[in-house]
């Protein structure tokens, strides 16, 4: 069945360093969504990408959807302690019937 793989599982960075998490699907996706879960909280929607090669920015966060619509990345520039949490990608396979979540990347930021 369709799988959405996310790497790395964990990332420790020094405040001010950049961070990237990658998401790869075994099948072509209609869309890719990104969610953030703060420690002790629940996942909250950040953004959705639907077009091949699409790039969107939210302040220090840059989201990309691959040309083949099978991979995506989230890049954070100059991390801050408020970026701490787990970042999940989620995709809907073309012709599929539900959203599939990746396992998440847990970000630790050291001040």
């Amino acid at each position: 069945g369709q799988q959405v793989m996310q790497i790395p599982q964990y990332q420790h960075v020094q405040e001010g360093e950049d961070f990237t998490t990658y998401c790869n699907s075994s099948t072509t996706l209609s869309n890719i969504q990104w969610y953030k879960q703060r420690p002790g909280g629940h996942p909250v929607f950040l953004i959705q990408l639907v077009k091949s090669g699409e790039v969107k920015k939210q302040k220090r966060l840059t989201f990309q959807f691959g040309e083949a619509k099978k991979n995506s990345s989230l890049h954070i520039t100059a991390t801050q302690t408020t970026d701490v949490g787990t970042y999940f990608c989620a995709g809907w396979a073309t012709g599929g019937f539900k959203t599939i979540f990746g396992a998440g990347t847990r970000l630790f930021v050291k001040a």
């Binding site: 996310q6 969610y35 629940h42 809907w92 539900k98 959203t99 998440g104």
Partner: protein, 115 residues
Amino acid sequence: GAGVSQSPSNKVTEKGKDVELRCDPISGHTALYWYRQSLGQGLEFLIYFQGNSAPDKSGLPSDRFSAERTGGSVSTLTIQRTQQEDSAVYLCASSQGGAANTEAFFGQGTRLTVV
């Protein structure tokens, strides 16, 4: 309601007892998902409902787990004969429909502890 509501927020149960976890999705949301999250881990998919039917229940870990949804709204996840490895946060999410491009809204989760 304004958001996805889950109850109870915390549940401590003895090994071997049955538990019921409830999810009240956002009104009008036809899609409903149950996930399990162990401490510091990712989301483990359990089951997906579209309306009252469950087209994908492939994530239920054993026949001790079951879920139902009635009236296309409230869903109940039941765990029979609980085991210590069932201890986790159980998250419910709902979205507007069985289509792409719909954002999933998560509840606060039920933290289940089996002692």
